[in-house]
């Protein structure tokens, strides 16, 4: 039982930044702009938030800085993709590479710790929050334990994320913006002739994508590790992209994808060096590779079929 709780608990931890990034990718890709730059935006946000939190001592200012850094990258991507009609894939690649390069350069110049940030002091970090009555209910079987061990005791960012999921889902399917978002990603010409500004919808989508990636990056540095470490995103942006594809570009299934991948990650850490009866030791790489293999199979239509928004990756140029 304890095992299961701790497994699920770390699933939630790992999943949170993935979910935020996947939601970011969904806004972007649903609007028709490919976003392989999630990784870079998260990384630069992780750095900016750690740096600002360290300097000001406030995790919230850290998060603001992280969001600003991520949004500014998103706006570069928007300029290339929307205003300039450039190649969105190359732009995403550029963002990832720039982020990999600039974060250690600035980190080294500011903190002289090999490109990492110093460990954040306690007050500059986000902390676990113990929800009301969590301690009192700890001993109530099942429900009480679920409440106190699984639901309680996470960072405010986790709870924010939990609120963001239904919000995003609502926005995409039930709001005016969502209708326009989906239209712009499927047939921008139709949206344009209906009086919807394709550029505006795409800029807004990328902006919110930037905000969400900023939160994801902040989660990693200001909460999880308590410092910025070079390349600390380590492919999480691509994992989020994989989850998004796994969820066929829909919010809730994408979240499930993130949880699944995070669960695999949690299991992998626990299986390290443990021999399973009958099978023997499973190399950790065999598990960590699962999301990537799954994505490839999905895209190829071997297990279900992931069909991208129709206008994705195509710059919108008014017809004629």
């Amino acid at each position: 039982m304890e095992q299961l709780f701790s497994l699920l608990d770390s699933t939630i931890r790992v999943a949170t930044p993935l979910i935020l990034a996947a939601m970011a990718g969904m806004f972007s890709e649903r609007s028709g702009v490919v976003d392989i730059g999630l990784e870079g935006k998260m990384l630069i946000a992780a750095f900016a938030s750690a740096a600002a939190a360290f300097t000001t001592g406030s995790p919230w200012i850290g998060m603001l800085a992280g969001i600003m850094a991520s949004v500014s990258m998103a706006m570069v991507h928007a300029f290339v993709s929307v205003t300039y009609n450039g190649n969105q894939l190359i732009s995403g690649m550029a963002i990832n590479t720039i982020a990999s390069g600039i974060t250690p350069v600035l980190g080294l110049a500011w903190f002289q710790q090999g490109g990492n940030s110093p460990q954040l002091p306690d007050e500059a970090r986000f902390h676990e929050i113990t929800l009301p009555f969590a301690d009192a209910l700890r001993d109530v079987p099942v429900l009480g334990q679920v409440y106190s061990k699984l639901i309680s005791g996470h960072s405010i960012l986790v709870y924010l994320t939990v609120l963001i999921i239904p919000l995003v889902s609502w926005v995409v399917y039930k709001s005016r913006f969502g209708l326009r978002l989906r239209a712009v990603g499927e047939n921008p010409h139709a949206a344009d002739t209906a009086g919807v500004s394709v550029a505006r919808v795409r800029y807004i989508s990328l902006f919110w994508g930037g905000v969400l990636c900023g939160m994801a990056g902040t989660f990693l540095s200001v909460y999880q590790t308590g410092s910025f470490i070079k390349e600390m995103t380590a492919g999480k942006g691509f994992l989020a992209l994989a989850a998004l594809i796994f969820g066929k570009w829909r919010p809730v299934p994408a979240v499930i994808g993130c949880l699944l991948f995070a669960f695999a990650d949690a299991v992998q850490i626990r299986l390290e060096g443990v021999a399973i009866p009958g099978i023997g030791q499973i190399p950790s790489q065999a598990i960590s590779v699962i999301p990537y293999v799954l994505t490839v199979l999905l895209l190829a239509g071997f297990v279900g079929r992931a069909v991208a928004p129709k206008a994705i990756g195509v710059p919108f140029v008014k017809s004629r």
Partner: protein, 508 residues
């Protein structure tokens, strides 16, 4: 309030060196159906795009209901009560009819409320104009005629008083077109103004109250429909007698070169695109395939060229079953080597690579010719020599083989394709829309050339949506509708009425 819904005064618009509209003026009475006719490239679409806010005129004024207005984008046009039904529908396939209709006019941040209101409003509109559209149907599942009605609904829902329709019947069967015209008349009765862009004289005569005739970017006539006849309009539109005539002797057909038996093509949704076709093309004759675009002609050409796999039937070429050819090459290449040449319908999408220079386009499809390569590499000399030959034989201008082909005019591009396809001395020429987007001089040249080929004993299968062209060139005419051949007529007995009936699916 004046009696005019729309007034255009001295509109000019230039794209680069091309003057698309030059000092265009017209007045369109409220509650009328107004036709704007002209050939391809006459400037009709540009003009309407200006009225709908896609482009800004370089000079000139627009009045809506007598008020001077500036229309900077389509939203402003919509606000002024102008609606547009595009030739290519502007619908989101994955959305329902209702979602498509409220898009851009949601009436608030939250969808729900707007959707409910729209549903009620839609019921009303459906009743008023007998549109018969199900609001919850997914648009991608609807037929062309219904999708068009969704477009009309979309405009009406936004309170359009002026409805612009761009070539609305190009994709419709005659029955669907009739239904559309009933809707347009109903709109007129309700006081709406309809602007109909078309190049079909019959439509103009049938349904419009007034007509503006455009030619080469200018207005050549603003007339009341009742005062003119078809011939007069045609004369204005083309600026010469429309009787397209190609001098040619009677055909002396020889043996069958192409023999098609029971040819069928069914797509993945189970729709029959080609339905049991049987016909022959003999040496020394031009067989024309007439029909409204989208009735299987394009697919037929692609199947015969080896680009599409038929689902049933047999194609025999000079007595040989083509399906049994074994060469290791893709079919299109193997068949081309056997002497089947193909001038595709869509020049810029298939027939040419616009980013490549003329000399590279001159070998497209023939890149495997032994005479072009030496030891695995192209001989640049041979490529250029062949291109220069084409340039002089077909009077292609500018005659620079190194120039990017995309910079040539439509007519010259088509000459490159035709020269290339004829060069290998094929026995069968498949040719689609030979003169689409081609200037008049080049049209005559191309037509003469085709007749010459026929007289040399080539078999020619001609697909064209231009009835005039079919009538002028063909020795025999096959009519296609709904993927079937609905009838065959000889050139002598063919007239537009009988062909029109066949095109509408009436079988002999």
């Amino acid at each position: 309030m004046t009696e005019f819904a729309i007034e255009l005064i001295g509109i000019s618009k230039r794209f680069g060196t091309v003057l698309a509209n030059s000092d265009v003026s017209m007045k369109i009475a409220r509650g009328s159906i107004h036709g704007i006719i002209g050939e391809n490239g006459a400037g009709k679409s540009t003009l309407m795009s200006i009225l709908y806010g896609y482009y800004q005129a370089d000079s000139g004024d627009i009045k809506v209901n007598g008020q001077d207005v500036r229309i900077r984008n389509s939203q402003e046009a919509i606000n002024l009560g102008i609606g547009m039904v595009h030739q290519h529908f502007m619908l989101v396939d994955t959305f329902t009819v209702l979602e498509n209709i409220v898009l851009g006019a949601e009436g608030g941040l939250v969808l729900q409320q707007g959707m409910e209101q729209a549903r009620e409003h839609l019921k009303q509109l459906n009743r008023d104009y007998s549109l018969e559209v199900d609001p919850d149907a997914v648009v991608g599942d609807l037929g062309v005629g219904l999708q068009q009605r969704v477009e009309i609904l979309k405009a009406l829902y936004r309170g359009a008083d002026v409805l612009i329709l761009d070539e609305p019947t190009a994709v419709l069967t005659p029955q669907e077109a009739d239904h559309l015209f009933r809707i347009l008349r109903a709109l007129k009765e309700q006081g709406k103004t309809v602007i109909l862009i078309t190049h079909k004289l019959r439509e103009v005569m049938d349904i419009t109250d007034g007509v503006t005739v455009m030619r080469a970017g200018t207005v050549v006539g603003n007339v009341v429909t009742a005062d003119v006849d078809k011939e007069k309009l045609a004369d204005l539109m083309v600026g010469r007698k429309v009787t397209l005539k190609v001098d040619k002797a009677a055909a002396k057909p020889g043996a069958a070169v192409l023999d098609v038996r029971g040819l069928g093509l069914t797509d993945e949704r189970g729709v029959k695109l080609l339905d049991k076709l049987d016909f022959q093309v003999r040496a020394g004759e031009i067989v024309g395939i007439a029909g409204v675009s989208g009735n299987g002609q394009s697919e037929l050409l692609e199947v015969l060229a080896g680009m599409l796999e038929p689902t049933e039937g047999e194609i025999r070429y000079k007595g040989e079953d083509l399906a049994k050819t074994r060469s290791g090459l893709p079919k299109a290449a193997a068949w081309r080597r056997k002497g089947i040449a193909h001038v595709p319908e869509d020049r810029s999408r298939e027939g040419l690579v616009k980013a490549f220079s003329t000399f590279e386009n001159a070998i497209l499809g023939y890149q495997g010719d032994k005479s072009l390569s030496r030891r695995g590499l192209f001989s640049r000399k041979a490529l250029l020599a062949r291109t220069r030959e084409f340039i002089s034989q077909f009077d292609i201008r500018p005659g620079n083989p190194l120039l990017r082909v995309g910079l040539l005019s439509g007519g010259n591009q088509q000459k490159v394709v035709l020269a290339r396809e004829i060069h290998a001395n094929p026995d069968l020429l498949l040719i689609g829309q030979p003169t689409r987007g081609v200037d008049i001089g080049a049209i005559e040249f191309i037509h003469k050339r085709l007749v010459q080929l026929r007289d040399q004993g080539k078999a020619i299968l001609l697909v064209s949506v231009e009835l005039d062209e079919i009538l002028a060139l063909s020795d025999r005419i096959l009519v296609m509708a709904g993927g079937q051949i609905t009838g065959e007529v000889s050139a002598e007995e063919a007239d537009t009425v009988s062909l029109g009936l066949l095109m509408g699916g009436h079988k002999h």
